[in-house]
């Protein structure tokens, strides 16, 4: 069990490191290496995650303002995702965190926020 976990952890760390190196070195806006958003390609409308790759590239190169201009929603979403992952896969968070994070109200709020961001960014071209 612990060995399996160690292997899994190492695997995730290696992949994450490789991804970070790729995103530091290559610019998604100019390079042809990166996948384009399926929704943007098909419909011409941005999805809630559009700009994530450019966001990560800019962030890793220290250009926070540029990163936020690509996808400001991601700046809030990443800490939330990290919180959920910590809650689901580690025991670092207190037990009440699970109740708050998995409360129907929280889930509904997250869903509605995402949809609101999706609509608004296409109206105002954020």
């Amino acid at each position: 069990m612990t060995r399996k976990r160690l292997l899994l952890g190492t695997g995730i760390a290696v992949v994450a490191l490789a991804a970070i190196v790729v995103y530091v070195c290559f610019n998604p806006s100019t390079s042809g290496l990166f996948p384009r958003c399926l929704i943007l390609s098909l419909t011409g409308y941005k999805c809630p995650g559009c700009g994530s790759q450019r966001f990560i590239h800019a962030m890793l190169n220290g250009d926070v303002r540029q990163a936020l201009s690509y996808n400001i929603f991601l700046a809030g979403a990443i800490p939330v995702i990290v919180l959920y992952l910590l809650n689901d896969y580690t025991r670092l968070l207190p037990s009440w965190a699970d109740k708050v994070l998995k409360h129907p109200v929280t889930i509904a709020a997250l869903g509605l926020l995402t949809i609101a961001w999706w609509v608004l960014r296409n109206i105002y071209n954020w």
Binding site: P35, L38, I39, I81, D88, A108, T114
Partner: protein
């Protein structure tokens, strides 16, 4: 004859004979206790009850014909609770109490009482069979949860797929996560499990779609960027 206490669908009953349990038509989710056991165990871990379950499955129709009436006698036999067994009575963890507020206080009081008679029989209990089938439970092993654990909401993965792979499927995943929790809180465990499964499928669909389209998208991008080149 050995008597059993049973905990099924959040309800506790006992003492009962093997035949009475057979007539109840319980499934593998039930927990049982009989004197000699340090704590509640899954019904499948008690050899004779497990055999009974298997037989009942094959002859389920026959079992249905026998009306599941409980003889009056069994209720009258309800033994008194000696002080000693109260300590052994499995305690319910705090968490479970919060998760299942509808559980009546009564149930705790009904926690298995060991009749005097059974205490004498205790040394005869086939402890060996029990230990051979599984790990020995510590004396303070928590009582089986009244409410089953909440099925996974898959919420993180729904959010991640919303932002990375496929927004519509991800949003559907978030909706299913909400439904899972909603049904669970209402005590509708089967529906919650169903919604949890649907949510998982939505996310799997999104990831597969992403894995298929990403290389195509990359190749397409590559061709386009090559056309931009001067040669």
């Amino acid at each position: 004859m050995r008597q059993y206490w049973i905990n099924y669908n959040g309800k506790q009953d006992g003492p009962m004979s093997l035949e009475q349990i057979a007539q109840m038509g319980v499934d593998e989710t039930a927990y049982v206790w009989h004197s000699g056991l340090p704590d509640w165990v899954r019904i499948t871990e008690v050899t004779e009850l497990n055999e009974m379950l298997q037989q009942a499955r094959y002859a389920s129709q026959q079992a249905q014909e026998q009306a599941p009436e409980m003889p009056q006698q069994a209720q009258e036999q309800a033994p008194e609770m000696p002080q000693q067994t109260q300590e052994q009575a499995p305690e319910m963890p705090q968490q479970v109490q919060e998760q299942a507020p509808e559980m009546p206080q009564q149930a705790q009081e009904q926690a298995p009482e060991m009749p005097q008679q059974a205490q004498e029989q205790a040394p005869e209990m086939p402890q060996v069979v029990y230990t051979a089938q599984g790990p020995v439970f510590p004396a303070q092993h928590p009582m089986p949860e009244e409410a089953p654990k909440c099925p996974p909401t898959n919420l993180v993965w729904a959010i991640i797929t919303t932002l990375l792979c496929c927004t519509p499927a991800g949003i559907v995943g978030i909706v299913f996560a909400f439904m899972t929790k909603k049904h669970y809180r209402e005590g509708n465990y089967e529906k919650a499990q169903k919604m949890s499964d649907y949510g998982a499928w939505a996310i799997i669909f999104a990831i597969i779609l992403g894995l298929i389209t990403m290389p195509i998208s990359c190749a397409f991008q590559g061709i386009q960027s090559m056309q931009d080149l001067p040669f």
